[in-house]
Subunit: 224 residues, 2 copies
DNA sequence: CCGTGCCTCAAACGTATGTTTCAAACAGAC
DNA sequence: GTCTGTTTGAAACATACGTTTGAGGCACGG
């Protein structure tokens, strides 16, 4: 083999292990033994474990952010002038994610789970890396959200974006938590596409909720 | 001192460190040096690091689940017979959380962040512990949610509950992630009570969103 | 006043981690 | 075939972790 596939085997193994164990809980020895490569190969090819984590993210985030850019381009062109709606913006995002070329059958869920972990596990270096490398599509998405919800105050919009990100990242990253508790009872399996199809209306409805209730209490919210 | 306060000092330090670093990323040496206590004290008083984690959760989860039980009792009594509404159920939960006696000024946010981590960091032992000890108030909350949303199919309700949990847990657990990016720009500080006041309407609206959009595409969702 | 039980302390133990080393194997160019 | 730069291999390194040990202190009941 001309350009050794050691690098890819490491990335594949690391991606999968990170996705279902987290970063700190995955050792280089687990990765190299799953990838059937020598332990030293990671530090040789990537330099450090943190750099390997960055490489895992870059491998799917770079093509994804390119796809996303063109999706946003298409959307804005289609709307010529008028700002896209909230639903359109959210769908542009989820369709870009779902339609990404997959390496494996479970590619998209690993993808989502890693993104969830990225925000959830407070790895300072990772956040710094992601902010530096992918701030542009992120900012653009934020701008679209702002234009799609002009009725919201900046503070309301800020928090509701937090809630959206939370619902998304958490759902995608908890493949084994509540799924075990409840999915057994229902006995149904759901694809990522179907989850997204359920998630987007939930997010859009929450984002456009009528009012922000302040100083709440049961006296002001009667029973009937 | 008759009953040494070592145990409480360890719990205080561990709680805070766990909350802003996660479990695996917090070592016993960090905890004991923050608590100004000997390293061996943790294993002496608690037996192991995992048992310490359980103790940290039990210290606030046990009184909280008691408070929650009476809040649900009050709510159901007030509604005599008729099932409580979704808003009432969500408010009963958040008010129980907010009105818990606080040990420190930042007590409630640590509380929330730990709960977020509990579902997010896939610590098998923690999930098992929480399920064993606190399954009853959890099941009761789920039952109330079911009765408050009879229009939803079981599958829809399952996923939307996931989304609610995600928005809540993630928001509460990401005290430093997006807050750094956006809160600087807005220059406002928000209390946990205010976050809850914004979160509940978001969740209720999402939970009661009209329809679950299936097989979505831009052809079926025109621009105007 | 002295022992008994509870607690603290410094030190060590065993293990696992990320990283480094350096010799061997390899590929391609001349 | 030989040389050169790149990649792999087994082993070791230094460090950090959770846990255990055993000596010492301290309070309290006899």
């Amino acid at each position: 083999m001309a350009q050794s596939d050691t690098v890819d085997r490491i990335l594949d193994a690391a991606e999968e292990l990170f996705a279902d164990r987290g970063f700190s809980e995955t050792s280089l020895r687990m990765i190299t033994s799953k990838a059937k490569v020598n332990l030293a190969a990671v530090n040789y090819h990537f330099g450090s474990k943190n750099a390997l984590i960055h490489a895992v993210f870059a491998r799917f985030l770079t093509p994804f952010s390119a796809t996303l850019e063109t999706a946003f381009d298409d959307l804005e062109e289609r709307c010529d002038g008028k700002p896209p709606t909230l639903n359109q913006t959210l769908w542009a995002l989820t369709e870009s994610a779902v339609r990404m070329p997959q390496r494996t059958d479970k590619g998209i869920s690993i993808f989502m789970r890693l993104l969830g972990l990225a925000y959830t596990q407070s790895q300072g270096h990772l956040r710094k890396f992601l902010e530096q490398e992918y701030s542009e599509p992120f900012s653009r998405f934020m701008r679209l959200l702002k234009e799609a919800t002009p009725q919201l105050s900046a503070v309301d919009r800020y928090w509701r974006i937090q809630f959206m990100l939370g619902a998304t990242a958490f759902t995608m990253s908890s493949s084994d938590a509540l799924r075990d508790i409840l999915e057994n009872k229902l006995g149904v399996e759901t694809s990522v596409q179907e989850i997204a199809a359920r998630l987007v209306p939930f997010l859009a409805a929450g984002m456009q909720a009528e009012d922000t209730m302040l100083v709440p209490s049961f006296e002001q919210a009667p029973v009937a």
